[in-house]
Structure formats: structure tokens, C-alpha cells
Symmetry: C2
């Protein structure tokens, strides 16, 4: 699935199978400045990881957001999860930025687009 007419909000992913991490979060609203800078840094850092395929993210005004990242393999998902700077961001997220979150790791079997 190619990127949607150069709309940068869409990830450009290969034919399945590949992996998706669905991250749903309720933001606490605490420490927004550090959060925003760290989130930007994590997007940039993720893109340098082996097996990274892309990311899509949407956040509503109510503080609920969904970020989906795409990966070539489960090993790539695990390596990103274990990346040192990302681990520190995860810790701050758990402790400060997110009231609640859910993470689901799934194997993409089918994909289509307009």
C-alpha cells in the first residue's frame, strides 16, 4: 500500500504480512511541553529503527489519541520497545503523561486503501 497521494498523515507500507502496534491513550494533560517535544523525538527516533515501516497518529481535543506504528517483524517491534531512549519515554508516559493507555501488537494480514 503506497502512501496516499503524498498525504504525510498516511504510512506507506508494503504488502502484508507486517506488524502493527496500536497505542491508545488518554492524556493526563500534565507536562504538555515536555510531552510534545518527547513525542516528536520518538517519531524521529522510531523512523531510524531497523524494520520501521511508518506511523499514523490522531488525537482529539478530548485528550484521547491513537497512534499506530508499522513494523517489518515482531523482532523490530521488540527492539523498538527495548530502545533505551524510548524506554525512558515510556516510563515518563506511564508516570506522568497518560492516565490510561492500551497497547496491542498485531500481525497485519490484509490491507487496502483508496
Amino acid at each position: 500500500m503506497r502512501q496516499q497521494k503524498n498525504d504525510p498523515a498516511f504510512a506507506s507500507t508494503p504488502a502484508p504480512p507486517y506488524w502493527v502496534v496500536v497505542f491508545s491513550a488518554r492524556h493526563s494533560g500534565t507536562d504538555q511541553e515536555t510531552y510534545a517535544a518527547t513525542a516528536q523525538r520518538m517519531f524521529e527516533l522510531a523512523a531510524t529503527q531497523d524494520g520501521y515501516l511508518g506511523v499514523e497518529s490522531a488525537h482529539g481535543a478530548d485528550g484521547f489519541g491513537i497512534t499506530v506504528s508499522y513494523w517489518a517483524s515482531l523482532e523490530a517491534v521488540a527492539a523498538w520497545r527495548a530502545q533505551a531512549e524510548h524506554r525512558e519515554a515510556q516510563r515518563l508516559g506511564r508516570e506522568t503523561w497518560y492516565e490510561h493507555f492500551a497497547i496491542r501488537v498485531a500481525r497485519v494480514e490484509r490491507a487496502y486503501a483508496k
Copy 2:
């Protein structure tokens, strides 16, 4: 994974495996009133389908949104996709409401939450 402290934005899903449909869309902004009513109707209708587990959705002010729905089986995903009223909504979405969209069907293998 239980619902997050009664936050209704989060889906309450069982232990994996189950299925997720990731729907990413750039809204055209056309015919928003009909879109909003239809989207609400689709959320209600999906919840009555066999194998429905839940849904999470986030939309930014830029018109990009992500909706993830969770299903007990691939058969449940297919049945929802083929549901008559849903098919008509899909047609309107393709023709009118969405500039672009991507749909990915994936098998959830791992899940965790705070």
C-alpha cells in the same frame, strides 16, 4: 484487557488472540452532517454484530482520523464488512466523505495496558 477504569474511549477486549481493523482516513469535509449521523449509526450497528469486541476512535482538527475496531474472528470482520447498511455507508465514504483511507486487518497477538 479490561476497560480502562470505565473510560468509555477504551475498548474492553479479551485476552488475545482476536482481530483488529485499523481504519485511517482523511476526511474531505463534504457533507459532514450526514457523515456524523451515519458514523454514529455505524458505531451502534457494529456493536450489535456477532463477534464485536469494541471500538476506539480519535480524530484531529486536521481531518485525519483513526478508528480501530476489535473482533473475535476473521469471520466476524468479514460479516461486518458485508453487512448491507454498512456497505452503503462504505460506498458513501469512498465517494464523498473520505479523500483517502487505508484499512488494515490484523491479528492481535499481545496486549497490555495501564
